[in-house]
């Protein structure tokens, strides 16, 4: 049965296709996009299939190459990573469709096949990090994803190569710390399999080596997920990257980092080690509070909208970490829900910003003046994404914040609940400044800039369709999909929690 091979297919198929895109791209550039989308569709369908299997039959254990687990590499899919896999592959697919037009404009034509090749690799790397049940394999896939990320970010505007180089340095430090942590665990247990490690480690919890390993793993992951104060690489890198790349990495990379953090804290180590034996969770919570407030305040200070969104990501990572580390069912549910919702929110916002950049070249708050008159659909989508980040019902952002705050309250940590609400208010300030500029133009109606000439499709020709100034349909539809996601995930969050997320909560919560 092909469905038994889904855990391998999700990785292997994009890997092979990424290689072939590169080769085919030397002679023929047109099919590269379609090949990449084919690979990502296969990954998406396989992850749907796996979720289905997980819901009906429970956790999937897949032995790569048929080797028995402690020696061979094992892929494990449970409710948590089935969900993350779907998010990553879906966002990858949607952003991929969007990038067709967007990339044609932002990077030179000769690099397009390589772009799709590396993009497929990036998605594949993130999927691999999520699907694997082996701590060292995770490192390798983490590096594949990161390397692909460095390359894609460097394709961006002026300043991108330097931002990318700094990201290489920081990213390598993070990955090396993770590798060291895994090495320490290997010395004391002789195993690299996560499930195996969690069996072997409890007897060794008092060993200093294990403590050091835990610290190294957490710091490494924190760098990769841009957790305050190790976030410094993120704003530069994500701001200068091409629009579609920022949309994808903003939506998924930090989220997969958060997923790895959950795995380290609650799968490799048992919850009672992370929560009761160490003060790790309390410290993490307070840093998360700092991240929420810091991210939002710096976002207020920005004029470049993309950079502003980058600081919002830092705050959102703070939310997720807080949910993970308050250490109860509500908070954890909120964190997982927020990983999912935030992926859609960030994708929506970055895609909308990219579409505006595509049509007008504007990226500052003042550049968004009266945008609603020109691009009503894009600005509407941006507004919905923004409302979701603020947490206005019925968008999905409200529901995850709901659980996060309840988690904080259940843990009797009123300070965290208040901090979360304060940060919501700050993000309201951030976004309403833009929305106001977008929807109302006091006293002036700037002339609508002339439309771009050219473009293959009929969408860019003046006067065609109801919305002549909007981005092409292949960019608009992905934006609408994310908007629909924001609304539907909010409305159906109850079902999602009862069918998937409630099973992700670690034992002992």
């Amino acid at each position: 049965m092909i469905s038994d091979q889904f855990p391998a297919l999700i990785i292997v198929f994009p890997l092979i296709i990424a290689f072939w895109i590169n080769i085919v791209g030397w002679w023929w550039k047109r099919p590269c996009f379609y090949m990449s989308m084919l690979a990502l569709s296969v990954s998406f369908i396989s992850s749907l299939g796996m979720l289905n299997t997980v819901i009906s039959k429970g956790t999937i254990h897949y032995r790569l190459g048929g080797w028995e687990p402690p020696w061979g590499i094992e892929y494990v899919v449970d409710h948590l990573n089935a969900l993350i896999l779907i998010i990553v592959s879906f966002v990858g697919l949607v952003v991929g469709i969007y990038s067709k037009k967007s990339i044609e404009k932002e990077i030179s034509e000769s690099k397009i096949p390589q772009f799709y090749s590396i993009y497929t690799l990036l998605v594949m790397g993130l999927l691999g990090m999520t699907v694997t049940g082996d701590a060292f394999n995770l490192y390798v896939l983490l590096e594949i994803a990161s390397l692909a990320g460095y390359a894609l970010i460097a394709l961006g505007e002026d300043g991108a190569p330097l931002a990318s180089f700094n990201y290489v340095i920081m990213g390598t430090i993070g990955a090396c710390f993770y590798l060291l942590g895994v090495g320490y665990l290997y010395i004391v247990t002789g195993s690299l399999n996560m499930a195996d490690l969690s069996q072997l480690l409890p007897n060794l919890y008092h060993s200093k080596v294990v403590l050091v390993a835990f610290a190294f793993l957490m710091v490494g992951v924190a760098i990769k997920m841009a957790f305050f104060p190790l976030h410094i690489w993120l704003p530069d890198a994500y701001t200068h990257a091409p629009s579609s790349v920022s949309a994808f990495v903003a939506a998924t990379m930090t989220k997969v980092g958060a997923y790895v953090m959950i795995r380290v804290m609650f799968t490799i180590f048992k919850p009672y080690f992370s929560i009761e034996m160490l003060p790790a969770t309390t410290i993490l919570c307070w840093i998360a509070v700092a991240a929420m407030i810091y991210g939002c305040i710096l976002a207020i200070a920005q004029n470049d909208i993309k950079r502003m969104l980058c600081y919002i990501i830092i705050a959102e990572v703070g939310y997720i970490v807080m949910g993970i580390s308050v250490g109860n069912r509500m908070g954890f549910t909120g964190a997982v829900l927020h990983i999912m919702n935030d992926a859609f929110m960030m994708a929506c916002l970055f895609l909308a910003v990219g579409a505006v950049y595509y049509k007008t070249g504007a990226r500052t708050i003042s550049g968004y003046k009266a945008l609603f008159k020109k691009m009503p659909l894009t600005s509407g989508s941006f507004a919905i994404g923004a409302l979701s980040v603020i947490g206005i019902p019925p968008t999905c952002g409200f529901f995850s914040k709901w659980y996060l705050v309840l988690g904080a309250i259940n843990a009797q940590q009123w300070a965290f609940a208040v901090a979360l609400l304060v940060s919501s208010l700050l993000s309201a300030v951030v976004f309403f400044r833009i929305l106001q500029n977008m929807f109302f133009s006091p006293n002036e109606n700037p002339p609508i800039p002339p439309l771009e000439k050219g473009g293959e499709g009929g969408f860019e020709k003046q006067g065609k369709g109801i919305f002549p100034h909007e981005a092409p349909a292949s960019m608009l539809i992905p934006i609408f999909i994310t908007v629909a996601g924001i609304l539907l995930l909010g409305v159906y969050s109850g079902q999602i929690i009862s069918t998937i997320i409630q099973f992700t909560v670690p034992e002992g919560f």
Binding site: L387, G391, I392, P393, P394, F398, F399, W402, V405, L406, I409, N410, A417, V418, L421, V422, S424, L425, A428, F432, Q436, F439, F440, S441, P442, N443, V491, Y492, S493, G494, I497, S498
Partner: protein
């Protein structure tokens, strides 16, 4: 109590959402078709709400669950007597306001009319959502939607002043609801495990298991968080929102938005905390004094305003606190009075705002000092204004008398004689700020040097019929409410019966 499961409450909400969508699709291409959608949605909505009335009069309850987010957290509608009174008022007045709006925006050739009608329709959907919601969660959801979708209406003129006003509006409403109300909702959920409105009070049995301090803090957070009720000192947004076009001020800031605020206060007092708990904690009295303070101070401020709409706004601030005062007294008559006042004040105040808009459209005057002799020029408008003002003051052949009567009765029942004094003072103050306008309009000579209207003084120059007819209708409504209050009294009795248990 018998429960009927029906999707009608959801339909009542959906109908104007669909209307909003159709308005968007039609856009500027065919204004008549677009306006037709507004009217159709309004009429349909009202008829759906009316169709639920017989069940409620039979003492039944209509329930409909949309979604279950998690155990104890539902998006659910439950139509009871209290909700239907509010729903009827808002949906009826939307029909009237729709006609009036059309007259207003067309006479003034307003820009962005499509956006205006869309936001209006969504705001009404959300108002119905609040009126019919079965739990605090659903209420909060729609409460926030109202805030967000009325923001473009307040900023409609897009002048720097309008945007400043809108920003203040948003800061107050969104800020306090996230910072205080949401926190209070969280605490309620934490304490009770559910957010369902219960007739004896959701937290009725919580005393003992939770400290009184926590309950008091929660109550204060609720009261600070429901800024839409415009209780002092958090009333600042309402005068600021007067930059909005007049139909917006009329429907939203006399009916939908502010009444949502006081309605939620009533819900929180009766169905979340419950009369018994609040009596035990003594919080009702505290709230009553806060409300009394607002009533008096807002009336005094209203006296000093020369801008007609601002004077009406401060009058609204003061009148809203009547409703809060009524429930805060926690006696049957007072609660009857306050529930009646939601409807009665709506009719009176919307008439007054309509007249302010009609005066603006016909003469471009906004200040009271400019209104000399305008009654001769606009007899119907100013006649309606007189009726509305008399209803506000509470003079017998008008609805306002009834609610004040019950409030006063309630104050006596509660042995709160200072409150009666407050009611009397406020009536005098109301008279002080309304009667001079009527006097100016009818008995003063029009100033001659006025350049807007150089024609002969005796000539009648009314606003368009689309505006005058609605405002006359609402004024007549204010009279009808005095002569035929039985329906509302019955409804109120049913609402009270469920809250108090014994009936009166």
């Amino acid at each position: 109590m018998e429960i009927i499961y029906s999707s009608r409450p959801a339909l009542a909400i959906l109908v104007s959402l669909i209307g909003a969508f159709l308005i968007l699709l039609t856009g500027e291409r065919s204004r008549n078709l677009r306006e037709f959608w507004t009217i159709a949605a309004a009429v349909l909505k009202f008829s759906i709400v009316v169709s639920m009335v017989p069940y409620i009069l039979d003492g039944k309850i209509i329930e409909y669950t949309v979604l279950s987010i998690s155990p104890g957290l539902l998006i659910q509608f439950r139509v009871d007597a209290l909700g239907i009174i509010f729903g009827l008022t808002a949906s009826f007045l939307w029909i009237v306001t729709s006609f009036y709006s059309i007259g207003y925006v067309r006479s003034l050739k307003e820009h962005a009319q499509t956006r205006y009608f869309i936001c209006f329709a969504i705001a009404l959907s959300a108002t119905m959502g609040v009126a019919f919601s079965a739990n605090m969660f659903t209420t909060f959801l729609f409460y926030e939607i109202i805030t967000v979708c009325t923001f473009p209406l307040v900023a409609h003129k897009e002048t720097p002043e309008a945007i400043r006003g809108a920003r203040k509006y948003l800061t107050y409403l969104l800020g306090t609801s996230i910072a205080f109300q949401l926190l209070a909702v969280f605490m309620t959920y934490h304490v009770a495990g559910t957010l369902d409105f219960q007739y004896e009070g959701l937290l009725g049995g919580a005393r003992g298991s939770v400290s009184d301090t926590l309950l008091t803090v929660m109550f204060l957070l609720y009261m600070a968080g429901i800024t839409k009720a415009a209780m002092m000192p958090l009333h600042g947004w309402l005068p600021a929102a007067m930059v909005a076009p007049t139909p917006v001020s009329a429907l939203l800031h006399a009916v939908a938005v502010v009444k949502t605020g006081v309605f939620v206060v009533v819900k929180v007092v009766l169905h979340i905390f419950g009369i018994n708990l609040l009596t035990q904690l003594g919080l009702g009295t505290v709230l009553a004094y806060f409300a009394s303070f607002t009533i008096i101070v807002a009336s005094v401020i209203a006296l000093t305003q020369d801008n007609l709409k601002l004077r009406l706004a401060y009058s609204t601030v003061s009148q809203l606190s009547y409703v809060i005062l009524g429930v805060a007294l926690l006696t049957p008559s007072a609660i009857t009075g306050s529930i009646m006042h939601i409807t009665i004040h709506a009719f009176g105040k919307i008439t007054l705002f309509f007249t302010a808009g009609a005066i603006y459209v016909a003469t471009h005057k906004t200040k009271i000092s400019e209104l000399d002799g305008i009654g001769r020029q606009m007899p119907f408008t100013m006649g309606a204004f007189t009726l509305g003002a008399l209803s506000m003051i509470g003079i017998p052949p008008l609805g306002g008398f009834i609610s004040k009567w019950y409030l006063a009765l309630g104050a006596i029942e509660a042995n709160q004689f200072p409150i009666i004094l407050v009611l009397a003072t406020s009536t005098i103050l109301n008279a002080c700020y309304f009667l001079p306008i009527i006097y100016t309009a009818f008995f003063k000579e029009p100033s001659l040097d006025h350049h807007h209207n150089p024609g002969p003084k005796s000539k009648i120059q009314e606003a368009p019929a689309l505006m005058v007819v609605p405002l006359v209708l609402t004024a007549i409504g204010a009279i009808i409410l005095f002569f035929a209050p039985t329906f509302f009294l019955d409804m109120t009795r049913i609402a009270l019966h469920s809250v108090i248990g014994g009936g009166n």
